[in-house]
Amino acid sequence: MNTNLAAETAGNAVSGSGRRLPQELNIFFILIAIALIFEVLGWIFAGQSFLLNPQRLTIMILQVSVIGIISVGVTQVIITGGIDLSSGSVVGMTAMIAAGFAQSSTWARAIYPSLTDLPAIVPIATGLIIGVLAGLINGALIAYTRIPPFIATLGMMVSARGISKWYTKGQPVSGLTEQFNFIGSSVAPVVVFLVVALIFHIALRYTRYGKFTYAIGANVQAARVSGINVEAHLLKVYAIAGLLAGLAGVVTAARAQTAQSGMGVMYELDAIAAAVIGGTSLSGGVGRITGTVIGTIILGVMTSGFTFLRVDAYYQEVIKGMIIVAAVVVDVYRQKARRKV
């Protein structure tokens, strides 16, 4: 008789009714709520609408696109039960190095005067490769030497920042080609972000890579005994996170039409925040890209909203800090609730 129970209800589940409601729905409602609060405050304090201003919304989403790109990688790392503190520094490093190969011959002080006016693909590929290398180093340290991810990526965070300062002795890299600047122009960063998000949403949801990522985060021992090559897989995940940080670096330089060694400072924290606000659990095994996208937009709406209301930048940071802590508290609470019925 139990047999029938399982069979009947499993039949329903195929059509989707068995799957629990996606948690992202909650986060989506929170996003709506925050936006509406700013809307109301906007009418009260600024006498105008917050939302009905396409320009403001465009700027808002442009501002967080780079964070979003990194965050897609960071989310995957966190799902495996790890953390990536290096993404912001890798943005700075790849921005500098990529920009060095993107300078125009009309610019007098090019780093490599003989390597100017290269097709955009060269600096872009360089940025991506440097990003992947940084990720591979992170991954190798974590997977093969068993250093905690926190420490390994902290090391990379400091080193990569050092490299970006040392690269030009602190000088900005400017005079970039039109072709290169194109990928940072107009809404290109947003397009890159959404394409990246879509690709990895599909990867996590429908591929073996995704299933194994969750399995490792849920119980690394059991994952290993089930035949998953945990080391190789972690290497992949961190390499992807590095790749996306590299991409973010390229986009950042192109958008600013210059690269500076201080680019991407603290981005790693915003990226982690976006993932956690979006429902990714710091204890691993739980998280979705859709949530991270919404989390990213929440960060954007808050920054944009506070600026719109002319809230002091210092207060903004304090409030952002509190929201991140609140998101983690919610995560911890959720974990507890799971155990108690």
Partner: protein
Amino acid sequence: MTTISPATMAAVRASKAIPNAEYLLSAEGVRKEFPGVVALDDVSFRLRRGTVHALMGENGAGKSTLMKILAGIYHPDEGTIKLKGVDVRLQSPLDALENGIAMIHQELNLMPFMTVAENIWIRREPKNRFGFVDHSEMRRMTAKLFERLKIKIDPEIEVRHLSVASRQMVEIAKAVSYESDVLIMDEPTSALTETEVGHLFEIIGDLRSHGIGIVYITHKMNELFEIADEFSVFRDGKYIGTHSSTDVTRDDIIKMMVGREITQMFPKEVVPIGDTVLSVKNLTLNDVFYDISFDVRAGEILGVAGLVGSGRSNVAETLFGVTPASSGSIEINGKPIRIDSPNTAIRNRMAFLTEDRKDTGCLLILDILENMQVAVLQDQFVKGGFVKEKQAYAACEEMSRKLRVKTPNLYERIENLSGGNQQKVLIGRWLLTNPRILILDEPTRGIDVGAKAEIHRFVTELARDGVAVIMISSELPEVLGMSDRIMVMHEGRVTGFLDRAEATQIKIMELAAR
């Protein structure tokens, strides 16, 4: 969560005034629902002072759920609980403990990186006059407790170094240390060998003679007759009845539990034995086991018996590449193969059901589907990196139906399943991979009688298809009933092989205890 309800405290004090209430602990009309499942429906239960009361029922019948209610972990949707005749509402496990109800859970819950002593006295550590933990006092207390219970485990060792059986003994000692009036044991013997089971029964006998009431959940029928005074049966969340264990037979109980008769306990078939599939020579893992050599042939079931600490599970782990060997060789179908990881083992068509389902088995926060398909995705149901969801789902669905996993659907988190049903999912995980060499470590741990016969039938079918099976089990009847040959181990060495025809419990015990 750690507050103690005033009502409960009052109840305890009041209880002193009614020393001879008929029942130590009772529950009436208890109902508990989880999303999609009625785990308990109008259930009653009464525990007398100084008795051992067994709970019987199929996997998912609601035994653990009822006990978790009595231990303050879940709150009932309906019904009352009386402690020594007084109504109580237990708010938390701590509340239950303060009221003299201690529970040993079905899954092990010790902290791996803490010592045995620290685990036992957690949150009750003796303090010195500076308010720090008094380690020497704690050591003394543990030594005293272990002496009384005749447990021989080093209190200073970190729990992660202990075998599953030793951990279970620590859990038992911990529960006893609360000096509670009621002690609930949820399948305490599922990971113990006969020797420790005997030891545990001595402990239980001693506690009973001191007037403590013991609730004892088990799927092992012989234990019921050996230790229980009375027993209650549950089926599908409903209370079926309570009887004295002297006036029933084993078949009566099975009929009460499953509502039908089980014809054959060990459906062993004699199948033609083929060529040697796995050949192990002088396998050694330094300080753990030495010089293990054996062959397993297609269609053969090799039983492995031995006491706790004999290294049975370690050999299995090494065969599967979890902890690669220090020396020795492994040949599969005549070809020498270095198995340095489970991944390599799976690529050589091996499968390994581990002993500890919580640590090395379940992906607890993921659903049944993900848990079942994780191993088979290594080389099936995947095209160009994408999982063929429909096929994978259909295969898992069919497997869960065959194994009778009791669940509303495959999207239920595995941690919400009853222990036995979790075990079935893990068995399904490995059966899906179509192995040629199947290593089973305590395969029917926590599995009810009906399902046990079912799983044995599966294993028999696999053997008929030419799979070489290695089956480690602490249940001698299972080893004797299913194996073609039995390998017995003692302290990391093989002490002998017994053929099916000559093997008896006594011969195994002689080899195991030498």
